[in-house]
Amino acid sequence: MKKRLYSILAILLVAGLLLGACTPKEPVAEPVVEQPVEQPVEKPVEEPAKTFKVGLVTDVGVVDDKNFNQATWEGVVAAQEELGFEAKYIETKDAKDYDANIQLFVDEGFDVIVTVGFALGEATINAAKANPGVAFIGVDQFQGEEVPGVAGLIFDEALSGVLAGVLAANLTESKTIAAVLGTDLVPPVVNYNRGYVGGAKWVDPEIDVISTYHPGGMDVAFTDPEWGASTAKQAIEQGADIVFAAAGNTGNGALIETAQHEGLFCIGVDTDQWLTVPEAHKCLISSATKDITLSVVELIKLAYEGKFPAGNYVGGSSLAPFHDFESMVTDEIREKLKEALEAYNAGKIELPDK
């Protein structure tokens, strides 16, 4: 019996080593635990050296999702580099753990807690009410009423959608442009599309915008790159020459697919996807972004300085740099984009319902 036990253990060990041969995912990127606090030079001297800690709770998903979880964490890291504080994140696996995960940071005395995604809105507000003195940054969380201690970082996705639509309308030759979208259960996705359609039609009402939502639920709509790719292909084969992908990893599939076809453009979403999806460099002219990273840095700084706002904090919406395609975007197009921005702010661009 012993012999067998040993042989089993040996087998398990070998299996373990084999598994280990695949480089495992780094347990937690660089949480910089217990990093000594650097006093920023410009800080007034009379303030005692306080420990400042910033925590981040992801939505169901992972922190390195090439998307808004990642962009937010990058904001935390950027602020950390500038100010020097302890930063840590936790990935949520079960939506019912939102409260518990926030609580872990509260218990450890974190000063700023960033919660990512509109799904955490309720948990964030409850935690803020229970823990005055902690600053909560709710990314994508629209605040219906002002709650002290909660800054809802929201973005006007329709605006960056409009800019993407205007860009696409100016570049298209076939007068057909496409959008591959995550589920219509997620309001920002719907807003991107409204802007995209509205912007394109504002340039040229004749343009045909073909857009489609993933038919699956929330759990699959953003993690189905093959669906994104084949949908993009279906659009391209019927003449679309520009594909706007607003669907997380599903959208990344659409970007990569578009890059396989000569002479087409694709537009990414949320962050500058030039940096996150290098496979799409051949077509990625720009991304309809919301400046999550920058806004998170700003809000953390405000909290650090004790000037933390409450209510809605509107972050910037814009287009990402054109990178290799700078020359493709003529002055004329740039002028049109500026014009579109003004027209949008003046409420002159008509947006569809969905």
């Binding site: 639920g217 279906q234 990893n249 496979e279």
Partner: protein, 338 residues
Amino acid sequence: MISESVNKKNWSSINWKLVRSIILGLIVVGVILFFNARSPEKTSAVLSSTLRYAVPLILGALCGIFCERAGIVNIGIEGQMLMSAFLSYMTNVWTSNLLLSLLVGMLTGAIMGLFLAFLSIKLKLNQTIGGTVINIMATGITGYFYQTGLTTQGKLWNIPLGPLAKIPLIGPVLFNNPPITYMAILLVIFSQVLLFHTRWGLRTRAVGEHPRAADTVGVDVFKIRYWNVIIGGIMAGLAGSFLTLEGVGMFERGMTNGRGFIALAVMIFGKWNPISSALAALFFGFANAMQIQLQFMGIQVPPQFVGMIPYILTIIVVSGFVGRSRAPAAEGIPYEKE
């Protein structure tokens, strides 16, 4: 049991009625599309999207067919696909060798098949649970070891088949595809021949229907089951590799997104017959392509309702309201030698 009375012919030949109705349906709708839109591009876009969506389903269904024809239930297709997708992707990242990656994917599938066979034949573990274990483990292992930020250069490319690819409409759809798609089509025919026109196939079906009888006439039940489940695993491996090497060229946690389960539905829809199943897969692919096309055309249907269609159709088919479907008789029962 009722199995004894079943007309054998039902199981050894293609269900032509289903084939006819599906082909007819495809043609009719295709023609309508063709004339309505007055644009051949749209029709061929819909058709090639149909094929592309169907490929992993066809391969997954073939996996199910091989396993179940030999009497082993496999609900772990999803997990097998996911593991293979992951490992072939990782191989591609490390070596940038597509052929090697494809082989690794197939090998992973084969090993997963061997694992399922070992569990259900040697250990006589309940097969449904064996499949569930594979699904849970695959999610856990790929999620734990996957790291983002990896990129691959290139994926399997289209190989146009000379003049065939120039035939209008069907040329670009059928004869200008990447390799795994061709392989899937060939494997359907290969499987059909293997299962219904060779000794191996006869033995496989005998083992799936009546292992005791097969044993008495000298068929090695265990050997047949092992090999069929391994062959099935290779098919699932190909399906996984299709996703990461040929389809989208990237990996994502949980990216199979239920395709393994739809493949099961496809298999039942096709009555455990490769050609019928392939047609069923095409039908599901067509439903998906059409729902995209409807949205393109600006026709607003809640996507959730369209998303439900394949599942509801499957329930209707398995329940026997339309074309009753019956599984091999000895399926799911571990065989004990006397």
